[in-house]
C-alpha cells in the first residue's frame, strides 16, 4: 500500500507555483500591515510584513519560488527552503478563503 505523498518543498524540486490576488476581496495597507477581507466568507486577515511582501508580489506571472528567493529572502533573514515551505502554506491558506488564486501555470 502506498502512503500519501508528503510534498517536500525544495527549490527546483517542485513545479512552479503562481499566485494572484483574488478580485473578490477588500484590502488596504495600513502601515506595515495589510488588512484583507474575503468577500466569500467575510473572513478578515491581517498580513504581517513578510505576508505583505508576498501579497504585493502576487502578480500571477512571477512564481512563488522567485518571489521567495528574490523578495522575501532578500528582505528578511530566513532560510530559503523554510521560507518557501512557509510561503506555500501561507498562500494555500489564503487560497482556501478565496483571497488568493494559486495555479501551476501563470495567470493570463
Amino acid at each position: 500500500m502506498v502512503g500519501a505523498q508528503i510534498p517536500v518543498f525544495r527549490f527546483g524540486y517542485m513545479s512552479p507555483l503562481y499566485i494572484a490576488r483574488s478580485n473578490e476581496i477588500a484590502a488596504r495597507q495600513l502601515g506595515d500591515e495589510m488588512i484583507v477581507m474575503s468577500a466569500r466568507d467575510s473572513t478578515l486577515f491581517s498580513l504581517n510584513n513578510v505576508g505583505l511582501v508576498i501579497w504585493q508580489a502576487a502578480d500571477g506571472r512571477t512564481s512563488l519560488e522567485d518571489i521567495v528567493k528574490n523578495k522575501v529572502c532578500a528582505e528578511f533573514e530566513i532560510a530559503p527552503e523554510e521560507a518557501l515551505k512557509d510561503a506555500e502554506n501561507f498562500v494555500r491558506e489564503l487560497a482556501g478563503h478565496g483571497i488568493m488564486r494559486v495555479s501551476d501555470k501563470p495567470f493570463e
Binding site: A26, R28, L30, G31, E33, A39, L44
Partner: protein, 351 residues
C-alpha cells in the same frame, strides 16, 4: 376580508413599514419596539375605511390600546406615515413549522436578498424596497430580519451596525466595542445619570448626511451640541446639552458619523433611547486592573472595527462597501483602547 395591521418601525431614521394580519403579533411588535414604532394603523376593511384611526405617526404609544376595537372609522389617506419607507410583509406560520437551526444565511439571488435561519425565511427586493418574512408569532425572528435589513441598507450608504454599546454624553456619542464578555453591558450599567444610553449591544452608525466629511466646523464658542430626539413627537425635538470643551487631538474635526439609538438590547434588556448624536470616539473595551485610555494603531483600529461589525451577506460588492466604511470611520473618528476596572470611575474618562 381580514383586517390588516401596520406598524412603522423606524431605526436610524430608516422607517420600515411592517404589515401583518395578526392583531396579537402587531401588539407584540409594539411592545418589543416601543418608542421606535413611529406610526401604526389598522387597515383593510371592505369599504376602504380603516378602523382604529387616530393613531398618527409619533403619537404617544400605548401598547394595550394600539390595536383595540375600532372606534371611529377613517380613511387610510388620513394617516401620515413616512413617505419614504421600506415595507415588510409578515406571514405567520403555526408554531413547529420552522427548525431550530441557528446559523443565518443571507445571499443574493436574482437581484433579491434571501435571508434564512431555522426560525424564519425572508426575501428582500432592494429595488422596490419591499420584502416578506415567514415566521411564527414571536418577536425574535423579525428582530433578526430587521438587523439584516438594516445592515444591507446601511452598507450602501457607508454605515453599519457594530457590536458596541453606545451612549450620549454632553451631546456627543461614544461607542464601546467588544465581543460578548468584553464589558458592553457592564459599562452601560455603570453609566452616570447624565448619560443617555443608545444601546448596550448593537450600535447603529450612519454617515452624517448634514455635512461633508472632515469639514472643520466645531465651534468652541457655541459650546453646545444638539441631540435630536424623536421619541414622541413627529416634529423632531432638539435638545441642547452642555458640551465639554474639545480635547485637542481627540476631536478636532466635525464627526462625520452619527450614532442612533437602537431597540437591539443585550443583557441589559432595555431598548435604547431614540436619539442620535455625532460620534466623538470609539473605545475598544478591555477589562484590566485600572481605568485608562490607550492609543491604538490605525491598522488595529480598522481591524478591531471590522471584527465587530455585523455582517451577514457574503457578497463582494457589500464587502467592499463595509470595508470602505470602516476605513473611513477609523480615519474620521478617534479609536482608542479603553481599559476599565470595571468601576463607575471609568466614566470620568468619557466625555
Amino acid at each position: 376580508m381580514k383586517p390588516r395591521y401596520e406598524l412603522c418601525i423606524e431605526i436610524g431614521d430608516i422607517p420600515i413599514l411592517v404589515h401583518t394580519d395578526s392583531a396579537e403579533f402587531a401588539g407584540m411588535l409594539q411592545d418589543r419596539y416601543g418608542k421606535f414604532v413611529v406610526g401604526r394603523r389598522a387597515a383593510g376593511d371592505p369599504n376602504g375605511e380603516t378602523p382604529g384611526c387616530g393613531e398618527q405617526r409619533g403619537a404617544q404609544h400605548d401598547s394595550e390600546s394600539a390595536f383595540g376595537p375600532p372606534s371611529t372609522p377613517c380613511r387610510v389617506s388620513d394617516f401620515q406615515f413616512p413617505v419614504s419607507r421600506f415595507e415588510l410583509e409578515v406571514e405567520l406560520l403555526p408554531p413547529g413549522m420552522m427548525s431550530d437551526a441557528e446559523e443565518a444565511r443571507v445571499r443574493l439571488e436574482g437581484g433579491r436578498w434571501l435571508m434564512e435561519r431555522g426560525d424564519f425565511r425572508a426575501e428582500w427586493d432592494p429595488e422596490s424596497h419591499r420584502g416578506w418574512v415567514r415566521q411564527s408569532a414571536n418577536p425574535y425572528s423579525i428582530d433578526a430580519v430587521l438587523r439584516m435589513l438594516h445592515t444591507l441598507i446601511l452598507a450602501r450608504e457607508g454605515g453599519f451596525l457594530v457590536h458596541a454599546a453606545s451612549a450620549v454624553r454632553n451631546g456627543r456619542a461614544f461607542l464601546f466595542a467588544g465581543v460578548s464578555g468584553a464589558g458592553k453591558t457592564t459599562i452601560s450599567r455603570l453609566a452616570p445619570p447624565d448619560v443617555l444610553l443608545l444601546t448596550d449591544e448593537i450600535s447603529y452608525v450612519r454617515k452624517d448626511r448634514s455635512q461633508d466629511s472632515g469639514v472643520r466646523s466645531q465651534n468652541a464658542e457655541v459650546g453646545k451640541q444638539r441631540v435630536e430626539s424623536r421619541q414622541r413627537d413627529d416634529d423632531r425635538k432638539d435638545i441642547a446639552l452642555d458640551a465639554a470643551p474639545l480635547t485637542p487631538g481627540t476631536w478636532s474635526l466635525t464627526p462625520a458619523f452619527v450614532a442612533y439609538g437602537t431597540p437591539f438590547a443585550g443583557e441589559l434588556a432595555r431598548i435604547g433611547e431614540n436619539l442620535r448624536a455625532p460620534i466623538a470616539a470609539l473605545y475598544l473595551l478591555v477589562q484590566g486592573p485600572e481605568n485608562s485610555i490607550e492609543d491604538v494603531s490605525q491598522a488595529q483600529a480598522v481591524r478591531s472595527l471590522l471584527q465587530n461589525i455585523l455582517f451577514f451577506a457574503d457578497d463582494n460588492e457589500l464587502v467592499q462597501m463595509v470595508f470602505q466604511a470602516a476605513l473611513e470611520f477609523a480615519k474620521c473618528v478617534p479609536v482608542r483602547r479603553l481599559v476599565f476596572a470595571p468601576d463607575a470611575r471609568v466614566w470620568d474618562l468619557i466625555g
